[in-house]
């Protein structure tokens, strides 16, 4: 799994690629968001374009990141969520928790 961040103004867009299946790899995402929070960032978009599927452990990593951002009084949006991940959100009723957008542009734009 790869995690790469680019700033769009004051919004951190975190691009994730590969399989989000839990284990040490998921720590990359948690650590990156924690680093950005520590630097004062409070607006996040997680771009899942490169993530075809996740399991419940990967879902847990997303929940962990969501909780960290909320605790820092920030906001997090997801974009480019595959049909398969969307189905997982639906089954677990997390569609009501995660704010999802069809594209990075839409997600970043939603902060304005």
């Amino acid at each position: 799994m790869k995690v790469k961040t680019q700033m769009e103004g004051d919004v951190a867009v975190v691009h994730v690629s590969g399989k989000l299946m839990g284990g040490p790899e998921s720590d990359q995402l948690r650590n990156e968001v924690k680093r950005l929070i520590d630097e004062g960032t409070n607006k996040f978009v997680i771009d899942l374009h490169g993530v075809p599927w996740i399991n419940s452990t990967g879902l847990g990593a997303l929940m962990s990141v969501y909780t960290s951002v909320q605790r820092s009084e920030g906001s997090l949006k997801l974009c480019n969520v595959s049909d398969r991940i969307q189905s997982l959100f639906m089954i677990t009723k997390l569609l009501t928790i995660f704010d999802t957008y069809p594209s990075e542009k839409d997600a970043v734009g939603a902060f304005k």
Binding site: K19, M21, G22, G23, W53, N55, S56, T57, L59, G60, A61, M63, S64, T67, D83, R84, S87, L88, I91, T92, K93, L94, I97
Partner: protein
């Protein structure tokens, strides 16, 4: 590229999460062979991935000395998977509903719920490790 299918419908895996990709291909292939529509085949793969994730993470605890055994079978309109680990088992009565308001923000505890939501039948046997048997019919 899906893993070549074993003639006996059996796949033995080491306890590492990278094996899930192999399991995903196998589950999708079986479900499609059974004639399940694409969306349902995808859901079956999601459920099987959860069973194997639990076997690797909670059952075998990533032990290199323990394996996960996946047995699979399909016939027109029906697919069946059995996932076995070598762990100590667990208390099914301690499994919570992860969609309840007080549990919704938890970072774990969704695997069994997902299996039960997706499959028609999910049964656990903990007499020797944990064996999950689940099936889905069109």
């Amino acid at each position: 590229m899906p893993e070549p299918r074993d003639a006996n419908g059996r796949l033995v895996l080491p306890s590492v999460l990278s094996e899930l990709e192999k399991v995903d291909g196998l589950a999708l292939e079986c479900a499609k062979e059974a004639g399940l529509p694409e969306q349902e085949a995808m859901m079956v793969a999601i459920a099987v991935i959860e069973a194997v994730t639990n076997a690797i993470v909670h059952g075998n605890r990533f032990s290199p000395d323990r394996s996960v055994v996946v047995e699979y079978g399909c016939e027109p309109g029906c697919v069946r998977f059995t996932v076995h680990d070598e762990g100590e088992g667990f208390d099914l009565s301690c499994v919570w509903d992860p969609t309840s308001p007080d549990r919704q923000m938890e970072c774990s505890g969704r695997g069994i719920y997902i299996m039960r939501e997706v499959m028609d039948s999910v049964e656990f046997d903990m007499t020797d490790g944990t064996t999950v048997t689940m099936s889905k019919t069109t």
